[in-house]
Assembly symmetry: C2
Homo-oligomer: 148 residues x 2
DNA sequence: CCACGATAGTCCGATATTCGGACGACATTA
DNA sequence: TAATGTCGTCCGAATATCGGACTATCGTGG
């Protein structure tokens, strides 16, 4: 790295396992016939259980509304999500996960669990728990969209 | 999230602070007149002190050689990096950081430090140290390109 | 209750990004 | 030296992304 001082910086250390997990999930989905591009996956992952608004997803993913719109178009064309009217706001439409989309979720869960188990085997139970707690604490001050 | 079981999954927990840090650094650079796009920054960040090969960077960033080539073109056009012949292999060229590029690094360091300090203030010294150690340990099993 | 600014999503067109395939130059091995 | 693999680049097509503008709807102050 050019940034030797940033060599052991937390940024990269956070990113490496993140990408590892992400790649593993995508590979698993692909092996089951679901070939989801990364950008679509990143959006899909953030859809709330009851559906999410477009602008909301765009802000979370830090991309423009138009870009997000086209990504949702693709997810809709391939049947993973659907746009439904928002009962509370006639302007808005909620992006919701279809049954086929839920399949993706179901397939991902065991993959994630397996990797987390491998990590726990490497770190030990206590340190894993600590890690999760610390990251959750960090979220409080780094997630502009923290949940209530 | 649709993946409720993945709700408190480590993936997202890792990503959130990572992106926070990344955004902060990019914003700081921008405020100093260096407007670096995200894709360029992600590549730049991985250039080794003595220079890195193109294919090496491409694999680390998980993008094609051609794509990486065009990103390096841009970084070179804006003067942050330079391609120099690899003394050990006449086929290869090393992507190296210029003086102007080093400026980016120098500007980033205090930003990173400041954020890490804020995190430490939130987590406490011990938990921060533990966090860093755990992440480093995780790197051993998640980074295909770990350093010796 | 109703104008009026703000907001949600979409359409359009221009630009940028990314990739697959193929290529010459060089390295490595036999 | 010949054969094979690797390194980076060029080309062209497909895709992604964005800025700007537009319609429909909301919510609020008068």
């Amino acid at each position: 790295m050019p940034d030797d001082a940033a060599e052991d910086n937390l940024g990269l250390l956070l990113f490496i396992p993140y990408r590892f997990l992400e790649s593993a999930v995508l590979a698993a989905l692909k092996s089951h016939g679901h070939d989801i591009p990364l950008n679509q996956a990143r959006v899909f992952q953030r859809i709330a259980p009851g559906g999410s608004r477009l602008a909301e997803l765009a802000e979370a993913a830090q991309i423009s509304k138009q870009t997000l719109g086209s990504i949702v178009d693709q997810l809709e064309r391939t049947g993973y999500v659907r746009r439904v009217p928002d009962p509370h706001d006639a302007r808005a439409r909620l992006v919701t996960v279809t049954a086929k989309g839920r399949e993706l979720v179901e397939l991902s869960i065991p993959v994630i669990r397996r990797i987390e188990a491998a990590w726990e085997a490497h770190l030990g139970r206590d340190r894993t728990r600590e890690l999760r707690q610390s990251l959750a604490a960090l979220r409080e001050i780094t997630d502009p969209y923290a949940k209530p």
